[in-house]
């Protein structure tokens, strides 16, 4: 019999009950909650007279609606304010392990604050009413997004009704070149397998390149598993995982730490484990990536030219390319390096951690944002990230270069607050989705790494960060 994959182990260690057709009840260890997808779930509990099964598994924080400047003015949009206040009231009523209300010094993006406070641990099941919950798979946790009905289900029962996914291994061999990041690896994988390539699968990321990534790099990679269609992305924990977690607020302490380490050591795929699908990439062949279209799979290396629909033989794909070029205001065969930009966004649950900011600051240091750029903004992922960056002087580097240095939140990744593109504006963004209207109606998004975004801000157009 073949050995087990890490996903098998995580799944099997959480099955509470299984029906004949494989539909299972899975126990949930960590429930992350934000203001957008939870109000209807708490209301459902209230209407049914139910209480959270285990409220000390809840880590909550408003992030999508919160403004990134002028915090003294509060939340000006009354609809946004009501949603954030509703979360305050729900947590007050139902309780939580961690709650950082708006303006708390540690508030931030839920997928940034979870790990940095040690509330995401290897071997856990982690859910949140947010598709980028896959981020937490970087710790060897089974982590994925759920809908609001499922949020209510987890609150009420501490379980999720689920069926086991198929298992995919994405192995990235070799080494990444200088200037090539976890973001580029994620985009290259999506470019290879497509946005539906991982549908129905849990992806385990392995290989030399993944082992060499820092924990923050692994979070960036797992964050974008959902953009490849996979609800969950997982990286087996190792000494880097332990080093990252040790001493964090909610990480195990004392005798539990040693016990936890021993258990975490078992969390890897067996050598003879079989996957339902295996995809292999060579890290050395990955160049900095830039999306040109309206789906993350519409991505190319920086040196490429915008595709020509006339060369596509598949009718549906040709229509997709034509629609994307039209929406993006691009002409076929334009070199990506010639695409001029209006705005720059460095932030989001994909790329707003301290290493992202350090990398972007390194590119921006001593330079100026091009005069053609209307706005270049840096939005740290959390209060902790912001304080760390300021202690290192990164804020000054950004401000001197002409970037705006903002308060933490989801910001222009999805533009639920005031940070958004105007119709037709083109943005180099370190976020995760380039869908139509994602950063504002009519806005045009190109996904890149923090280094590439910073370099584009300086040049006013895309450039190969390896050459600057």
């Amino acid at each position: 019999m073949a050995g087990k994959t890490l996903y098998d182990k995580l799944w099997e260690s959480h099955v509470v009950h299984e029906e004949a057709d494989g539909t299972s009840l899975i126990y949930i260890d960590r429930h992350l909650v934000h203001e957008v997808t939870s109000p209807q779930a708490f209301e459902g509990l209230r209407l049914a007279g139910r209480k959270p099964w285990r409220n000390n598994t809840i880590v909550a924080n408003p992030d999508h609606n919160t403004p990134t400047k002028d915090w003294d003015k509060g939340i000006e949009d009354p609809v946004s304010r009501l949603q954030v206040e509703t979360l305050d009231n729900n947590i007050k009523e139902f309780g939580a392990l961690v709650y950082f209300p708006f303006k708390n010094k540690d508030q931030g993006i839920i997928h940034v604050i979870g790990p940095e406070n040690g509330t995401t641990l290897p071997g856990m099941t982690v859910v949140c009413g947010d598709s980028h919950t896959s981020t937490h798979g970087a710790f060897g946790a089974l982590a994925h997004g759920i809908g609001t009905s499922e949020v209510e289900h987890v609150l009420a029962t501490q379980t999720l009704v689920a069926k086991k996914s198929k298992r995919m291994l994405v192995r990235v061999d070799g080494q990444l070149g200088t200037g090539v990041t976890a973001k580029d690896v994620a985009l290259a994988i999506i470019g290879k397998i497509g946005t539906a390539g991982g549908t129905g699968y849990a992806i385990e990321f392995g290989g030399e390149v993944i082992r060499a990534l820092t924990m923050e790099g692994r979070m960036t990679l797992c964050n974008m598993a959902i953009e490849a269609g996979a609800r969950a992305g997982i990286v087996a924990p190792d000494e880097k995982t332990a080093a990252y977690l040790e001493g964090r607020l909610h990480a195990p302490k004392g005798e539990y730490w040693a016990k936890a380490l021993a258990y975490w050591n078992t969390l890897k795929s067996d050598e003879d484990a079989e996957f339902d699908s295996v995809v292999v990439l060579n890290g050395a062949e990955i160049a900095p990536q830039v999306t040109w279209g309206t789906s993350p799979e519409q991505v190319l290396p920086i040196g490429a030219t915008v595709p020509d629909p006339a060369k596509e033989t598949d009718a549906t794909k040709r229509t997709s390319i034509e629609n994307a070029l039209k929406y993006m205001g691009l002409t076929a065969n334009t070199p990506i390096e010639q695409i001029q930009l209006d705005k720059i966004f460095i932030g989001s649950c994909t790329n707003s951690r301290i290493e992202d900011l350090r990398a972007a600051a390194k590119v921006a240091q001593g330079k100026k944002v091009a005069s053609s750029i209307k706005l270049a903004m840096v939005v740290p992922g959390s209060g902790q990230v912001k304080r760390q960056a300021e202690a290192e002087g990164l804020d000054k580097i950004f401000i001197e270069a002409g970037f705006e240095w903002r308060e933490p939140g989801c910001s222009m990744c999805l533009a639920m607050n005031a940070d958004r593109l105007s119709p037709g504006e083109r943005c180099a963004s370190t976020s995760n989705r380039n869908f139509e209207g994602r950063q504002g109606p009519g806005g045009r998004t190109h996904l890149v790494s923090p280094e590439m975004a910073a370099a584009a801000a300086i040049a006013g157009h895309f450039v190969d960060v390896r050459t600057v």
Partner: protein, 212 residues
Amino acid sequence: MKAFTTLNGLVCPLDRANVDTDAIIPKQFLKSIKRSGFGPYLFDEWRYTNYGEPGMDCSTRPLNKDFVLNLPRYQGAQVLLARDNFGCGSSREHAPWAIEDQGFRVIIAPSFADIFFSNCYKNGILPIVASSAQVDALFKECEAQEGYRLQVDLASQTVTTPSGHSFTFDITPTRKHNLLNGLDEIGLTLQHADKIKAFEQKHQLAQPWLFA
């Protein structure tokens, strides 16, 4: 949850692949703390020519006359015909809420994104996976024939076209049972409360730090 048994419904074809949840319901409408009232904002950026805000009266907004949902022949449609990877992107359940509120109860596509697919079942919507060839045929028939309707029967897991051609679809027995009977999933799970408690005790012994 609303039960689903059978439906004879007008079909609306949405001929685009990778329709994402941002397109289904743009983010500004996610600020609502209710779970109803999203129907008028379904496909908002494709459906209207002005920018929609929550609470807006959509009856007076300028329509994009070319968008399929606005064509007179598809008014009152209950079956949405779609292409590959429908519902990709975010986990927002506002997407199926908007689809259901607009009046759709069935979506037929060659493939769906995982989270959207499971969100449909929680809201009495039946997502049907059909082969690409089958979906292609339905698109052609639907566009050729005004008033094109499909008969969907969950008990027998069949879809029947106006010409009498039928095809079957897969659904897990658990989902089928819950949907046919409109069962409350939380209530069902709580019938296993003793099992959950027993699991929890065992889990705590194995990984006590998760309960510290």
